[in-house]
Structure formats: C-alpha cells, structure tokens
C-alpha cells in the first residue's frame, strides 16, 4: 500500500512541466473568469479553474502544492465547457488530466478525492481483469474500497429486473493483452 | 586542416531584408562573416538566373530574402517572387539540384535578430554540406564528352 509521502523537491515549476509535457500554456490565461462562470461544478470546487491557473502561473512551490492538493481537480468532469468558451484557448481539461496524474504521483491527493480515485481504480481494475466494464464487479470493488456499502442498493434490484445487470462478467479473449497494456502503461508512468 | 568556410550570397530587397540587416548592425548582433549581400529594389526583381550565376561564381549557398507577405513596399513584388520560386524550386528538385544550398526567407526591417540567425543557420548548414563541388564539376563537362556519349 501507499508508503509515507516522499518529500520530493520541486525542481521545476508545474507550469513548465505542463508546457513541456502536454504543450499547454498556463500563461495564456488572463483571468477573465469565463471558465469558472461556465463550469457546472465551479460552485463545488475549492479552487475554480481560473484560480487553479492563477496558482500555476505564480509557479512557486507552495502554489503548485496547493493545486495538487486541491479537491477541484478531482471534480472536473472534462465536459470541456471551459475550453470551448475560453477566449485564450487554454485547454483546461487537458491540464486537469495532467494535474490529476501528477497529484497521485506526488501523493498529494485531497482526502475527499480518495473516493473518486477509488472509483476510478475499481473501474480500471475491472477492465484490467476482464477487458470490459462489469457493473456489479465495479460497484462491489468500489464499495470494498470505500466502505460505502449502502451506496446505490436501491438501484440494483430494479436494474436486474430491467435486464441491465449481468451477474457474471464477460471476459474478453484478449484480456492478457489488456493486462500487458496496463502493466506497460503503469510502469511508464512510474518512470516519469 | 582548416575548417571549410562556405561562401554565401544573399539577394535581398532594399526595403525589408536589407533594412533588417542594417538593424542587426545597429543592434550590434554578431553573425558569421561568410555572407555577401547584394541589394535589389524588391524580391520581384530577383532573377532566378542570378541565383545560378551566384553558384557558378563559387557560392556554396544562396539566401534569397525579402518582405513578409503583405509587407512588400511595392505591395506585391514578393508575391510574384514567391510564385516564381515555387516553380523554380520544382525544377531544381526534378533536376536533382542540391537545394539544401538555396534558402528562401522573409526577413522584415524589424527582424535584425532573425537576419543574424538566418545567416548563422545557413553558414552552419552549408558548412556541413561542404564546398559545392557538384556545380563546379559541371563546368568541367565539356564538348569532348559528347563524343563519348554519341559513340555509346
């Protein structure tokens, strides 16, 4: 399981990493706030998209740290509303993806976001094992990870009744290939 | 052995690139000494035959440069020049001419630094290519060889 958080020096400001690795220019943001105004979840976020960009623009260690520890980055739905209306064409969802993986990598995930990650992990584990999503397996695994045992118990019977839940997962033939994709991709992320 | 110093000719227009090279001077930006500038009123005046003549006279590389599109002092000389270059380029390509020695560029009167960089890049690239022996050897092919070919 996770070890104690490593103290790692931030040699390079995040904004430079973002520029080098995903070619997005944080500095383009001029803080008009149109992203926050259109974001369906900015009310739920601790930092709105423009504020996250502002923190990144400052570029010092503590601001970068605040970004990686924020809850907002985990709420982003990648609905692309901010990006599609951004006058400066900042691809914020793309930056969000980067921030999320960076946050995990540096073990700075916001405590409230652990459930979200648990869900994503359960989802990926499910695919890793069978190649496809299996809803029962996903929910079971997620519940085990989060102890939210009562979540969605009301939906399940109805779903069975409508023929929308399969008890046994479908395992694709190429599941070993899928497992190898996972292995390689994860290894690569660790090496970064 | 001494490093090969390529001979570079630059055909430039008076209003943009010549002025840009002047600006490189007033800004004291240093670049390689290999280049010799020939001044034209406009890129539209630059005859492709002159490019060939420059190579014939020993140039290892030729730069042709003028105003950016829409910046031409004469409004459209550079556009006409660009068309000619497109065609000339295709001909050289077909002939297998070493086009790596021919450089087209837009350098405005405000781009002193771009001019200096361009010259340095060209000198570096042509230095790597070495002397333009291919073209020099061409002048050695003469009437005599006709006989040989006819006999074949």
């Amino acid at each position: 399981m996770e070890t104690k958080s490593k103290i790692e020096p931030l040699a390079q400001p995040l904004k430079e990493k973002i520029l080098n690795e995903i070619n997005e220019q944080v500095m383009k943001c001029y803080q008009c706030g149109k992203c926050a105004a259109g974001c369906p979840l900015s009310g739920e976020m601790d930092y709105t998209p423009n504020q996250i960009l502002r923190l990144l623009q400052i570029g010092d260690t503590s601001c970068d740290d605040e970004v990686l520890r924020s809850y907002g980055i985990w709420l982003c739905l990648t609905c692309d509303t901010c990006h599609s209306r951004c006058p400066q064409e900042v691809d914020f969802p793309h930056i969000m993806d980067f921030l999320r993986s960076e946050s995990i990598k540096r073990r700075k995930v916001h405590p409230k976001a652990k459930e979200i990650i648990a869900f994503h992990r359960s989802f990926l584990e499910c695919i890793e094992k069978t190649g496809r999503l299996h809803e029962v397996g996903l929910i079971a695994s997620y519940k085990l990870k989060t102890f939210n045992l009562l979540q969605d118990v009301d939906l399940a019977p109805k779903m069975f009744a409508k023929g929308k839940l399969e008890i046994f997962p479908h395992r694709i033939k190429g599941k070993e290939a899928i497992a190898r994709i996972f292995e390689k991709a994860i290894k690569e992320a660790d090496n970064d | 052995m001494q490093e090969f110093e390529p001979k570079i000719v630059a055909f430039v227009c008076n209003w943009c690139t010549y002025a840009g090279a002047d600006l490189a001077g007033t800004s004291r930006i240093k670049y390689a000494t290999n280049v010799r500038i020939v001044r034209f009123p406009c890129t539209g005046r630059i005859d492709y035959m002159l490019i060939l003549k420059a190579f014939q006279n020993g140039a290892d590389g030729v730069i042709v440069s003028g105003c950016h599109p829409n910046d031409c002092h004469y409004t459209s000389g550079n556009f006409h020049a660009r068309r000619r270059w497109i065609v000339f380029n295709e001909l050289l390509e077909l002939l297998g001419f070493d086009k790596r020695r021919l450089f087209f560029s837009w350098v405005s009167a405000a781009e002193g630094a771009k001019w200096a960089n361009l010259v340095n890049e060209v000198v570096t690239e042509v230095r790597k290519l070495g002397p333009f022996n291919e073209y020099e050897e061409l002048s050695k092919i003469n009437v005599n060889s006709i006989g040989e070919i006819c006999n074949v």
Binding site: P93, D97, H120, L124, Y142, I186 | -
Partner: protein, 293 residues
C-alpha cells in the same frame, strides 16, 4: 448491404440495452450491417484519462487497431463518451509522434489511424435519413427537448457538429419525424457524467436543472444520444427530485428509439420497457395523437 464497424461499448451491453436494441433496429432498416469489433475492450472512460494518460490513449487504440485489421474505415460508436475517447486516441496517434511509436508497442498491434470513429448522429445523417422520408409510418406529434450534453459537441477538434453552443442536428431529425423540437437552454450543459456513482448528489443538482428547464418549456420527452446522459437523467431520478419542488416524470428516450417509433417499430422491440422513468404515458399520448391524425 453496407458493413461498418460497431463498437457498442460497455454501457450498451448493460445499462443501455435499449440503446443497443433500437440502434440495431434502425440499422436493419437502413440496410447497414453493424459488425461488432472482434473482442473489443473498454475505452477506459474517465477513469483512464484521470489517472494515466498513456492508458487513456492505449485502451481505445486497441479497438481502433482491431477495426483496422477487420478492414473498416468507419466505426460506429454510439456512446458519446466512448466516441470521445476513441476519437481523441486517434487524434493523438495521428498528431503526436510520441504516441505513434509508443502505442503499437503497448497494444502489440499495428495502428495507422485509418479507422474513423463516428457518432450515432453522424450515422443517422449518413445512412438513415435518406431512406427515412419514404418509410415514415408514424408522425410523432409531441414536443421534444433535444439534449446533447458535452461530448457530442465538445471539444471542437473531435466534434462534427456545427453551432456547438446551439446545435440543431437532433432538432432537424425530430422535425423530420413530425415532432416539434423545443428551444431550450440546457441542451449542451453537462449532466455530471462520470461522477454518477461517487457524487450522486452533484448529478442530482445538475440533472435537476436540465429536467426542470425542459419540463417548464413543455417538453413531452428529452431525446438523448449518449448512454451516460441517459443513465444519469433516467436512473438517478430519486436523487434529482430531491432538488426539485415536484417530482419530474419526463421520460428520457434515445434518438434511435425515436426513429424506431417513427418507422413503426413496436416500442418493446425498441426497449421502451427498460426505462426507469416510465415511458407509458408518453407512448400513450403519441399513440393517441397518431390515431387522431
């Protein structure tokens, strides 16, 4: 008979069975054979691109490669979320040298990016609409709110839809089958998508706004073209209604179900019995008005 590649995605095997049923019915009508990609895998969805960018490109890429190996240059991807992942993956592979070399090693298959994912709306426009006019058997005399959500119109580089702030593609289809498409304000707002399980409360809030606006403008049903939108709007009604003054009973139907009805296909062959929010009243109303015509 035209054959094109078909990537149903996980949802159409589970929560969105009615989508699959109705889509297959439409395809049969249009004389297009949907050939399921052999041994396809999950696209990775939000989970993959949230956690691991390589995985987010590689998982969809395997499906693209399968389609290529089967000789398809078109893959119908009915789920807007899956479409987005497949199209993005293809975009990355075509535009990014890094992925072009890395992905084939990861998925252990060759990939050129020749197979082009298309959405269900592209599919309908290209293969169905031309044949529709002469085969309409029902005029669907009702008011519809066409809901696009996010991933059909965004991001711009993956979307084939024009006017992304106020798209009219589905509206045009609705009009073709005799329905009235209402002008409303939430057609491209987000339903909450991937937070369905973890933050059901957020889904409740976002979907409530969408349903409320459609309802207040007199819609009889909301038309969707994405199983994610459908499941949030349809299955999460309890959570949604917590945010509304009175319970909302608008049925959520797939664009393919709509076309099926217009073609005179029986509702239960289109999966109308599989909805959480009852479609009975809506169907009844339609039937009544059709008879009156």
């Amino acid at each position: 008979m035209t054959k094109i590649g078909y990537f149903p995605g996980c949802s159409l095997n589970g929560t969105a069975k009615e989508y699959d049923l109705s889509l297959q019915a439409i395809a049969r009508f249009a004389d297009v054979e949907l050939v399921e990609l052999a041994d396809w895998n999950c696209c990775g969805a939000t989970a993959a691109h949230s956690l691991n960018s390589t995985l987010a490109v590689a998982l969809p890429a395997r499906n693209l490669a399968i389609a290529e190996s089967m000789g398809f240059d078109e893959i119908l991807v009915p789920c807007a979320a899956c479409y987005s992942r497949l199209a993005q993956s293809r975009h990355e592979i075509k535009s990014d040298e890094k992925y072009r070399t890395k992905i084939p090693q990861l998925i252990e298959m060759d990939i050129k990016g020749t197979a082009n994912p298309i959405t269900v709306l592209d599919f309908i426009n290209k293969y169905v609409l031309g044949k529709l006019k002469d085969n309409l058997s029902n005029k669907l005399n009702a008011k519809f709110a066409c809901y696009y959500g996010c991933l059909l119109t965004r991001p711009e580089h993956l979307s084939t839809i024009e006017r992304r702030e106020d798209p009219l593609v589905m509206e045009q289809i609705v009009q073709l089958v005799g329905g009235m498409a209402i002008d409303w304000a939430f057609k491209v707002e987000c339903c909450g998508a991937g937070l369905s399980v973890v933050r059901t409360d957020i889904i409740g809030k976002l979907c409530a706004k969408i349903l409320d606006d459609a309802n207040s403008r007199g819609a009889d049903a909301i038309v969707v073209a994405c199983p994610m939108c459908h499941s949030n709007l349809d299955m999460r009604r309890n959570e949604i209604n917590k945010n509304l003054a009175s319970a909302n009973t608008l049925p959520i139907i797939y664009i393919t179900q709509l076309l099926g009805l217009a073609l005179g296909i029986e509702p239960n062959k289109l999966g109308f019995d599989k909805h959480f929010v009852s479609t009975g009243k809506f169907l009844h109303k339609l039937q009544k008005q059709t008879m009156e015509v």
